[in-house]
Symmetry: C2
């Protein structure tokens, strides 16, 4: 048997306890065989199993970045500090119009390296040229739920239908790729950028094929008001009406949701992916995370694209979520450390309906080993507090997904990080040239 | 002559431009002699001068942490996620009551290591046992403005007076220590925790001695309402009335300031130290940073104590300030990247009235070299954006203060980082034991 021991450290258990334990991983199955004392783990994997050193470290579930546009790493720092509308029209959309499939691959590789280096093992991605993103996920060894983003506003009927069909086709074709690590979703961009008939048709086909739905919902007031004005109902009610509010669906943002919408999300079992950094950077507002959680909504965390963040480090999202959640609730006890850690791990896996998110026997072997032996993580009063408030992606030593070691001692093993970085840097230079001359 | 070259990198100039340049440092004088081409710098320092490699890196002014309680690193993660009042009464104050001067020294050492490792070269500290903090500043090679924090509520007249006298005595005695790198201030804790007569007396004596004033102002509504209720005027007006609103004074927080107070701060030339992480974590509110800056107020950044942050990394504060500033202004173009970089460098040095904050000939040689050769800082569209949004303390390679190299290639040279970390960890364990048995 092909076994791995993650040994010598402490482990964050699903109930929130932190305890001294080793972790036995069955690499062939990609699962955790046992969590226990060194002796118990010896019994599970044999004393000769390869070991990942976790001394002075905390073993946590691999982090889940439940909403991003990973190829946008090419636009990191390309345009900041502008209101949403001119930022999109003057900067982001013109740049995206020039993005080639090769660029998408280069950006996705860069994002994959960045995520592996910061302990993320699974992500949800909405973009285009998704076959290239899928190829990167496969080679990187990550897990993902992928989808082609649909926009129909400004398109004629044929183009609009083609875009819907593309998203459904991508979802059908890529589902189960990368040895099952890739799952898919139908991804209309939002309820205001896709026309009702296309939404209805696409969702209906997705339901027949058993494909979940992912979209941006209630991110800004401009995404809410037109729906209220035109339909006399709020966006989450509209989503329900078109059958896009299912238990396997997950909506990004959920900033401007009212009490009735929170209740509907909870009843439907539809998850919300909170993107605190993006919501602050674009001045979108403060999602009512504490209320969503109290109502029983599954809340995950997402970085959104690197252009509105500007990194893909879920540690930042945990800190931001805890801090913004307190401000939104006007209560310093809201959205505590253990909540954001849960959102970044189990909450993310549950929202995306992917394996992982738990360090326990039988669970997927998706984990990160966080080095706590650092001045900024001293003293050792509470390692869960450190995860939320003081640790950062650069504190991750090892990253494991599906039983495979993606990073060991900060060296990414599945991709050539240096070459990836160079390729992305060059692609970005070329892209800017093309945008300028377009 | 004892010279240093910081060579091979780009430099962030005071006007915000980033250009390829070397930096010549006169170590004896502690100043920057020249900023220019390699040839120009050869002429200034000689080709044989010791070199700090800045290739693929950005040379920036040393960051300024303009409001902290550095010894509180011992309480990092000790108690989180509680409302301010019970957090202080049940957790922080009982722990602080057990802190010995040795603990303060241990915590200050840990904070100094953390700040050096994240590119901070100067800080303002309000705490007690300040002679021990000063000793740490001296050994660490940092710059600081230090003061003993005064609280008179709940004290009898003799104790209250003794506390005021202690703060004045500390300010007189420590001013100019550490070869002039230490300056001081009279530091009443706040306008509500120090009685009016003690404030008046202390400020009056400070003015005579030419000592500036640092206090917490308008942090929460609970710091505003009692003053309005009792005096019929807002806190900044009260500060002016007791002569505590001078051009060398700097106030922490300034969250709940109205338009009239912003104007008064601007007229008086009193600086505000914005502490975005602490203001979020304690749910204190959103400071109107864009309005303060537009009114001409000098705004600096501070981490506040590690118990309400939970780190001393000014890169986090820059990111938080940009993001929270946009949310507060409801405008994604507010508090842009260049503004937060300015606040963390020149703004901090100006608020604290300390040398530094500028990479230019004649300025103090206080600088940090930030490694930009990393996946999360790729591509290279805009290094100033990266400083604000994507870089973190761990990207700092070298830290220089007053011409001395405090960290080279991530190795802290002035303190034994490993021993400091061990001492702080042990001190924290002892502290918890004492609090439990108290």
């Amino acid at each position: 048997m092909n076994q791995l021991r993650v040994g010598g450290g402490r482990v964050l258990r699903p109930d929130g306890r932190v305890e001294r334990a080793d972790v036995a991983v069955d690499r062939d199955e990609g699962t955790i065989r046992a969590v226990g004392s060194p002796d118990e783990v010896d019994e599970a994997v044999g004393a000769a199993a390869e070991t990942l050193d976790a001394s002075d470290s905390l073993v946590i579930p691999g982090l889940v970045n439940a909403h991003t546009h990973v190829a946008m790493t090419l636009l990191r720092g390309y345009a900041d500090d502008k209101p949403l509308d001119p930022w999109l029209r003057e900067d982001i959309w013109p740049a995206e119009a020039e993005l080639t499939p090769d660029d998408v691959e280069a950006g996705a590789e860069l994002g994959a390296v960045e995520m592996i280096r910061s302990g993320t093992t699974a992500f949800a991605d909405m973009y285009f040229a998704m076959d290239r993103v899928a190829d990167v996920v496969d080679r990187a060894g990550l897990r993902a739920r992928l989808g082609h983003g649909v926009v129909t506003v400004g398109k004629d009927d044929a183009d609009a239908r083609a875009d819907v069909e593309e998203s459904l086709a991508v979802a059908r074709e890529l589902d189960g790729a990368a040895d099952g690590r890739i799952r898919t979703a139908f991804m209309p961009h939002s309820l205001t950028t896709v026309g009702e008939e296309y939404l209805r048709e696409g969702v209906s086909e997705a339901r027949e094929a058993g494909i979940p739905v992912h979209l941006h919902a209630n991110e800004t007031e401009d995404e809410v008001d037109p729906i209220v004005d035109e339909r006399g109902e709020r966006p989450i009610a509209y989503a329900a009406e078109i059958d896009a509010l299912g238990p396997d669906d997950f909506f990004a943002h959920g900033v401007h949701v009212d009490g009735s919408e929170i209740d509907r999300l909870a009843e439907a079992g539809t998850a919300v992916v909170h993107c605190p950094a993006s919501n602050m950077k674009l001045a979108s507002g403060m999602a009512p995370v504490q209320r969503l959680r109290e109502a029983g909504v599954t809340v995950a965390l997402g970085t959104d694209g690197a252009a509105s963040n500007n990194d893909l480090d879920v540690f930042d999202e945990m800190r931001d979520a805890a801090m913004l959640g307190k401000l939104a609730a006007d209560d310093a006890s809201a959205v505590p450390a253990e909540a954001v850690v849960e959102m970044a791990t189990r909450g993310g896996a549950d929202a995306l309906n992917l394996p992982g998110g738990r360090i326990e026997a039988g669970a997927a072997a998706d984990l990160a080993v966080v080095d706590l032996d650092a001045p900024h993580l001293t003293p050792d009063h509470d390692p869960v507090s450190h995860l939320a408030y003081a640790a950062r992606g650069s504190d991750v030593r090892h990253t494991v997904c599906d039983g495979d070691v993606l990073m060991r001692d900060r060296e990414v093993l599945t991709l050539d990080a240096e070459a990836v970085q160079k390729r992305a840097a060059d692609a970005a230079i070329d892209l800017v040239e093309r945008v300028k001359s377009a």
